[in-house]
Assembly symmetry: C3
Homo-oligomer: 159 residues x 3
């Protein structure tokens, strides 16, 4: 499927949903499919480089948000914080017991395999993140560029 294209809109900032998205993205690249991941709203938190937070040129709200919001993949919460009593630690233990790679591993895999990483311009502005605070290969784009990519894809998901 090397002539196919997949577009994923990563809206959620949940550990489990990000895991699903990155497993799909890695799988598609393995099959030769080109993949664009567009990160908007909470999804942006996945792209934060945990070592590069800056509080310069930020409003009070943006500083508060930068400080409180999860920094990078491993800090993301579950979509169901207490889903049937299962916490994130329980999921991580079960993944570890099965030698399943972590979210960071899948993110690293996607970056190596050439998944195209895009960040939503409007979301970046609202949340006050600078591109220097994100992983380096991120391209900033607006909704029109997202739509131009997604509309010509063979498959689009909102995650």
């Amino acid at each position: 499927m090397s002539d196919k294209h997949l577009n994923l809109l990563m809206f959620s900032g949940d550990y489990d949903k990000a895991l699903a998205a990155l497993i799909i993205a890695n799988g598609a690249r393995d099959m030769g499919t080109s993949v664009t991941m567009f990160f908007a709203f909470w999804g942006l938190l996945l792209l934060r480089d945990p070592t590069k937070m800056s509080l310069e040129d930020k409003t009070a709200w943006e500083k508060m948000f930068s400080t409180m919001a999860p920094r990078g993949p491993e800090q993301l919460p579950l979509s169901k914080m207490n889903f049937s009593g299962i916490g994130k630690n329980m999921l991580l233990e079960m993944m570890d017991n099965n030698k399943a790679p972590s979210l960071s591993d899948f993110l690293r895999g996607a970056r190596k395999k050439g998944v195209k990483f895009c960040a939503c311009k409007l979301s970046l502005e609202i949340m006050g993140f600078k591109t220097e605070e994100l992983i380096p290969e991120v391209e900033v784009m607006d909704v029109h560029k997202y739509l131009a990519d997604a509309m010509q894809a063979n498959m689009q998901l909102f995650i």
Copy 2:
């Protein structure tokens, strides 16, 4: 992309997800793409006209639900009520600081630009809403009509 069609299923009644959906819908209309938004379950709450609630011809449950559920766009909650401590007020402040339009603005934009608004017949019946309580341009349709529209679209999202 004026020969393209986009279909969005708006299931969620969350402020942030509705914002994402309407930004995409507005963006697609700007590019000449036709857009159908099908509102089901909690998504219906976005279509309520805050000034037109009626309790006539409703069962006790439907009256209770009508009274308790959010009325219209600005009353919708966040998908993560306390996501990393950020509340809806914090998001609204950050949007306001960046002069980003509100959810109501994007909804107004979508109505002006000719997005087709559809409401799920079954959801309306279960929740006991009358079409008179919704914004006027809404067309009621069942799942088969939704699928007929979505299946021939170039892109479909479940939000």
Copy 3:
């Protein structure tokens, strides 16, 4: 639309989202469209046969998870546990008042109508479920087989 194909990725384990997915799946089959539902993560809980739980060959975590997680469709929670004060009982009452079928009815309908049920191999391994604990017609597949099916579908949703 008998030459069309629909692919649904059921990630969520929420009662209301599962209801939406199965209404769409049933509707598509009514129209002659072929349907694949791929259950991953929490979505797997929908496929549990409530009468067939086994604790053999499971790690301590897997046993705990098996015991605590919802068994089968009717035990699933709402996506918004307390959405505007509405609980699952309230939704069920409103559905019952309108003689709407339950989630189990829609699941039974989808099985009868020939929806293809697939379970994510990796999710099964992590959660420690055996295929014997699921409804019998489930086919286990990995992400590559999921993508091969989804990529050639006319419509894909992540629910």
